[in-house]
Symmetry: D2
Subunit: 342 residues, 4 copies
């Protein structure tokens, strides 16, 4: 039984962490902070937790986070880099669900996130928390940078191809579609029901913050820089990411078999049979990535379909998976709920 | 560990039973039948179950249901009354999620369901499976008639008032709203996305089959016939029922307190604080009924709000709750998942 | 050809006014104001108007509204009472889509709207703009108080019964369901897609601002105070209100016929055949109210179903209808578009 | 004033044709057929048309279609090729909204549509009804093959690039997303609300019937065969197609300007300003295609975003546009309604 804390628990990744951790048999949630809602019961903001989570939000200044074994940051970008180092220095292990420690190149980070990084030394020590790539390093990490939602779906989808060197790495295309919860629980006109329902649009085509993160990940896997066009879209879903990936084949192989072998031992990646079309709802509320591989009309373009729940494998679930690895629990502990369908 | 079978597993109550039973620690699912899909893997119809449910659909004629301790019927109305008696006679305990055994008055049943009842003797032996009313009888039941979705929400909402005799029992109004999954996984134009999305309508106002079931339940509780107007509506939700109940007060009391006391020991009924507005999503995918009581402007009309997930507390979850009671398991075993929000 | 202006054009009633007025053959839109967006093109905020509406938002201080024949206020409550009198004094005719001039009793208004009324003299002169009740007065009105969305659906639904004196006026129930656009284009967490989609809830059960407006309207029609319980609900629709109305019958009559006669000459009220269930989408984007009357099981409770598009007959369309009456145009001019279905 | 008939009026393209034609000032609808619903009022199936369309469905055998100037076929594939020739021979001009006359190569058609073509001679005479390409030929056409929904969005999006020869024609990618109404008003499980809502998936990745149609169109424009990967997706929208198009640049140019010039005189194609992200709702219920061009990070991949309403510019609206051209009406007659937003 470990003690965990959550910094910034009023957003969607926060409430999803609460849902998962409150059902985790080896975890006791001892503190959850919110500057704005300090003093109010968590279950009055999130009635789904009534009778099951008795905590109140605490002011970050008074919450005893240093007594925790692990602290999750479910805060906006730029908070963890300021508050995590003090905890890390006392030996608390930290999992940051924001972007503060994801990009190794500080200059790139500062350009895309529009602020100065206050903790570059911890960027160097942080481990990028994609277990399917970095499991061993995560085990010993003091600080895990939990991947973004799009980067999880796109990297898991492209990885076997890029590792195998069978596609043109200079011309990858990721057409990705996200549910609206990916924009967070922020009061913004563009996320209103009457704006986002019965509507579909691309956004940030000139450049999205997840682009450098995906590029960094795929370039590390490839061993050299990759060229990537990344177009995100807003879809009238609450949860779910569907990445449709295109790559030009440069060498022949049994692509289905390459994927099946690559993920054979992964508990949370499901390579579907040939000709499958994974649906976002087939992973709804579960820590899963389902992938299908197509080669339309036997041509030279490979199409990979990759789906996750952006709040689970794309955020809170992956964070718990990382925690399981860090603390030596079974990797599936507390993450074995079946998807909710319909 | 008990062995269970499911007859008719291709609908929404079937897949929801599978989701819940596959995660139940004391249950082994040994057979699931479907005449039309015999031979195909359950997980190819419902990819959400890939890797977790290895069964194939079997033809009802060959499935060894008699080796089961319990069999669930998730079939259309009229099937269980024909197939359950043979199983019951061999000692298998049966939970019918359809309407075959819900109404004690055979003539009323035949009028509303438009067919002749083939097993009136088992109607007499069946126990109406609303645990909050009939827990003791359910324990020893050989055959449980699992309540309808609307009847669950409406009866739990009205029950404390009707028991206490504090409202005019001749003039109850239930304005109920259901998600589209309540119509089942049947190919019908009226349930198409393009018909039901961004649309709201009442239906069956002249008379809905759940009306006599609710009337029977409330009349039993009251000890005399009640008068009820019941108007169901179709709402663009996948899951969820919201019942808004109106009753004219005939005697003063602390209504909030009456509800809190009535449900104090019920694990799956949550009486919310005064002035609450329960949301359907606060019970999504969970076996819960949340209730709030209002007396607008201190007038003589009481308004009760009652929400459930129609597929869980309104169907499969309640069926598993009944199974837990019948077999002496903890009532919450396998039903303790937190609601999925957002 | 008349010149019209719109004060506050960045909300949903504003853009809907623009859609209707831009297609009205007798209207020239000469000014639209927005303090926050002054200087930017209307079509850059609302791309649906590209190529058709060339206006820019102007600062209210500089817009030449006094040159208009009519000015619409599509502003938050409390704005028109401050800005309309100056225009009215110069002879401009005003239609206020907010609540400032709807309630004759200033004290009641101030209680429900939480502010002091700054223009009680204009409240006395204003005409409540429900054409089916007040057509003659609207014709000569200098200031029209355009009704609220719920009040339109509920009053049109109850009116024939209340006029005929055939139901118990002390015990009316209005269970109303609204699409999310009714909450406006304001950045609020409760209106986010991820909060409102796949969710259903009642709100403001203790008391909603439209309650006194409906009560005032029905009491005027009845000639004495009526008792009303009004429960609004938030539904995952963009547009649409469905009011389900309950009344206890006190005298026998052919209710269907009463409704048909009452609305025989109304171009925008459609009494449907017996046993109908009007759908909100059957009036989507059109200035229509469709009504059906039921008497379930021949009992003593009448159920009336009334649907409108909250942005059209519940707001902008009704405002244009009022304008047509005020300026002697055909009442259907510019309002004859067919509903959009599916 | 011309007389028109509609064969097969019970689907979504049928009701959309009715909505548009009933408001067209130069058209009288004289007949609408449906084998299954002959004798019933159109407005009882589509209450949105109550009071405005007085027709009844007629049996195709008795309907006097030969008295029409123009007949629209809104039938399943394979019907028009059997029934249209007789009408054509009597001088009636025909617009087929299905696929029967879209593909010039009969063998290709028969392979993708799985039936034998019964009217190859009329395939040779048919004009492909994309006005932005074929306006002159449409003017004199006796038979117009109205384009598919995806083909309209994709061809309009790629056309200026392919005409200008500035991208690699061997490696075009069209990632397209459609609302569910594109699947028609057919009772199918996959189109149910509870299947399609809150869900996103690709489908027909191995090959979709619109692929050869798009290829044929772009190859004609290019003057040589093009290579295209086409991946359609099902999105929880009622109406709307969003095509995200990718092409590798082979020559430098001002791409924005090329698009603006190409479509400068087109009333129904809107080239948006640089950096725009067209939304499907910005064309909802209107005969419009909006397009934006991006070159992310100045790289060698061009991204074109193209949106239409699949039932309007993708079906019924384009059919009316073709009719306007064929009969010498103003091309925008009856098609000038503003989009419905929100």
């Amino acid at each position: 039984m470990i003690k965990v804390g959550i910094v910034g628990g009023t957003g969607y990744t926060g409430v999803e962490l609460l849902r998962l951790l409150a059902q985790h048999p080896a975890v006791e949630i001892v503190a959850i902070t919110s500057r704005g809602d300090a003093g109010s019961a968590v279950s009055s903001m999130f009635p789904s937790l009534r009778g099951r989570v008795g905590l109140k939000f605490e002011d970050p200044a008074v919450a005893n986070l240093k007594a925790c074994d692990a602290v999750f940051f479910a805060t906006p970008n730029g908070v963890a880099m300021q508050q995590a180092p003090e905890l890390l220095d006392t030996g608390v292990r930290v999992i940051d669900l924001a972007a503060d420690f994801r990009l190794a190149d500080i200059a790139v980070w500062e350009k895309w996130y529009g602020m100065q990084h206050t903790s570059p030394e911890w960027v160097a020590k942080a481990v990028y928390g994609l277990p399917e790539v970095n499991r061993a390093a995560i085990r010993d990490a003091r600080l895990v940078a939990n991947p973004g939602c799009y980067p999880t779906a796109v990297q898991l989808g492209f990885m076997p191809l890029v590792e195998a060197g069978l596609v043109d790495p200079g011309y990858l295309i990721a057409d990705a579609k996200s549910g609206v919860s990916g924009a967070g629980r922020k009061a913004e006109v563009s996320s209103l029901f009457s704006e986002a329902a019965d509507n579909f649009k691309a956004y940030a085509v000139p450049g999205h913050r997840h682009l450098p993160e995906i590029r960094q990940g795929l370039s590390r896997i490839a061993g050299h820089p990759v060229g990537l066009t990344f177009v995100p879209h807003l879809t009238p879903l609450i949860r779910g990411i569907h990445a449709t990936l295109y790559a030009r084949i440069t060498g022949e192989a049994d692509f289905q078999s390459i994927y099946e072998k690559r993920y054979a031992d992964e508990p949370f990646v499901d390579v579907m049979p040939p000709k499958s079309h994974p649906e976002t709802r087939s992973v709804r509320a579960a820590n899963l990535c389902r992938i299908a591989i197509h080669r339309p009309q036997g041509g030279d373009t490979l199409v990979v379909l990759s789906v996750i729940d952006n709040l689970v494998k794309g955020a809170a679930g992956q964070a718990v998976q990382n925690m399981n690895i860090m603390f030596g629990f079974s990797e599936t502990e507390g993450l074995w709920q079946l998807p909710v369908l319909p």
